[in-house]
Amino acid sequence: MDGRALTANQVVLKVHSRCDLACDHCYVYESADQSWRGRPLVISRDVVSRSALRIAEHVKTHELGRVEVVLHGGEPLLAGVAGLRAILVELEGALAGLCQLDVKVHTNGILLSEDFCDLFAEHGVGVGISLDGDKAANDRHRRYRDGRSSYDPAVRAIRLLAGDRYRHIYSGLLCTIDVANDPVSVYETLVALRPPRIDFLLPHATHDSPPKRSAAAGTDYADWLIAIFDRWKADGYPVRIRTFDSITATLAGADSSTEALGLAPVQMVVIETDGAYEQADSLKVTYDGAPATGLDVFRHSLDTVLEHPGVASRQQGIAELNAVCRECPVVRTCGGGMYAHRYRSGSGFDNPSVFCADLLKLITHVQDKLPHVSAAHAAARLVSEQALAEIGRGLGGADAIEQLFRAQQPLRRSLIAAVYETAMRAPAVSSRIRDQVHDAWQVLAAADASRPDVVNAVLAHPSLHAWSARCLAGLRGPTADRVNDLLHLGAVAAVAAIQGQARARVMVPVVAGALHLPGLGRLVGLADAELADLEVDTDLVTVRAGTDVWRLPRPRLQAGDAFPAEPWSPDGTPGYAVAARWEPVRVLTAPGIRVAVDETGPYRDLQQGAAASRLPDADFRQWQESFALAWEEIQEHHAPYAPALAAGLGTLTPLPAVTPGVEVSGGARPAFGAVGTRLPDDPATLSLCLMQEFQHVKLGAILDLFDLFDPSDKSLYRTPWDARPWPLERLLRNTYAQLAVCGYWRNRTAGGGDDQEHASRRYLHARDGIEAAIETLAGCESLTPLGEHFIAQMRSGLMAIG
């Protein structure tokens, strides 16, 4: 138990209690529990209505943001299109405006038709289908009552889902293991059906009814799954496999995604066709009546179900396990195995799983093959206590900033991997975009294999974090928008290939007539194209958009030159492509510092609010002059801030002036190394903007790594800078940024000159504000111990300013 409130966020709704197949391994009909015999065939409208109300009641009580309902049976499609539609409408009506409702249906696929698929697509219902492998494997158990094979109709249904029309509702395949089947053949059959996910399920068994094995002490099930794991790894992980994902998740400290593994509390409740609440279906294999609770939707809430002794006993994590399990080195991954599999007459569930030896062998194998998963080297450990203290005081030298940079690397590698991994599974992504994203990923992965240093440098671009967040947010749900943003991965991969001297070919999006390569620049003049084919070779980068072709010398791209793009034709004759021009990323320079100007990148506005368009040359020269003077001011009057800025400020995004004379600047959380600002009227103000906004950069990187406060705190806090209260993070960020403002004005008061009185007033104003804000922050109950420590360092930093 980790203190989480007990909730049921998954409800299995039995909509039909009979099946059109007669699989001999089915736990519903062939197990000890025979309660199905007394159930109504079909769930009644009354039960559906009461179930929906119970779920809504539970969602309201616990303020759940999401609940999952699984339509199940028997065979749920026997309820018919109209019957299922009525159920979906009832559920959606009860939960509208309360929380996100995710509905899935688990079916044998026999009846799946376009009518069913249209219904599921209309309501966003994910469809999982059971298939045990190739025809011979599947026919071993999954037959009609008269003995006929169910393989062909099941595969027909899966192919219907795997096509472009319904792929977005295809949630995966479920395969019950029979060790008599060849594991690799089963794996190959299932992968060929292009599921987004596969579940390999251990057959339900107990110590009273043990699974079949070649020898009593054998580990047939581990060996079977290990053969698949090794092949899956060798194949480059072409599909998510929930069994293995759950093992890696628990090894890394996250929760399992299957009830068969892990120590997470049970959060699932079954509602039968008569409205009776039951515990997990798997208990049907233990003894007659085992899943029963004696509770029902008419008289009892879901909270009452969670208090049932049978359910409550499965909320205790490691404490509920027997002594052997509690001492086991893999207990946090195994979790004692599936509850039903521990059963033995006499001792009940107080036993290791009947698959104990298999689970130990399999988990150990995965651990050995993926040692980095359990290495548990948090990125946060890349930042020393000294660096954290320096940064907490509002400063931090070059070394502290370098540590933040290093800690960003694993985060950014994980972000882009998450974008790729999510895109490969997301229902909203068409096969065309998926293929292009896959190709881009292959280019990036190849570059990473040969030049990981180059890939780290490419991924360090400030826009990568904001772009990743945008993609991940956009990939939610079946109607997610912005999937075209995914194609920017092609641009990232292209830059990795160019900088890493690799050959590659990748599709890159064209935005408003320009092809953008982050960190390098853009090719302008591709007015009509949406995508460009970019081929990276030893000396040349060839760009094809429609019928136009240009060749760009790679060394000139890397050198930062501006030049007209050379039209080219495949037969060697002079090309007739429209005029295009390469515009490199421009750089502001001053002694000891170089800052790239992101004035065209398509994702620069996600970091800083509305960004300005590319600066005219005269304006850029003005920026350069002002920047050089601002840097001189920082070095001369605010020297303690200079090393961090020199080490960490890599990008500046020009912002348009909203109101003349009003300074506009910002440093965004998902843009490490970048600040945005308009060009102030005087260089001294630019130096203040840079110092202030770089505070946001530092604190943003800290918040990426450490929990300084409880993120679930939605309270608003009094602030000295606004009549309206602010969320905690905003108050913390602004207070931290004000430390640099205070330091700036304090230094100006010491510098003498005409504006000393003005500087003194500004200094005192900033100081008073920070003092008040720090008191508010220090009194906040949501701070973690590390947050309290950080606030104490901020107070210390304020005292040091004077």
Binding site: D2, V12, L201, S246, T248, A252, D255, T422, L703, P785
Partner: protein
């Protein structure tokens, strides 16, 4: 001296350090592990898939 390790909440102590691991292997970690690593950097964005453990069904 209070160490960062001591002060980190227990629930966040196990992450993966991918800095030396190929991108392909990182992607293979699966959504649960990846999310655990990046969730702090994506405030306001909740895990996209299956908070509930999938029950073992074999229709």
């Amino acid at each position: 001296m209070v160490t960062t390790e001591e002060l980190r909440p227990a629930s966040t102590s196990a992450m993966v350090d991918e800095s030396g691991i190929p991108l392909t292997e990182i992607a293979a970690l699966g959504p649960e592990v990846l999310w655990r690593t990046i969730e702090r950097a994506l405030p306001g964005l909740s895990p996209e898939s299956a908070p509930a453990a999938a029950f073992q069904s074999s229709i």
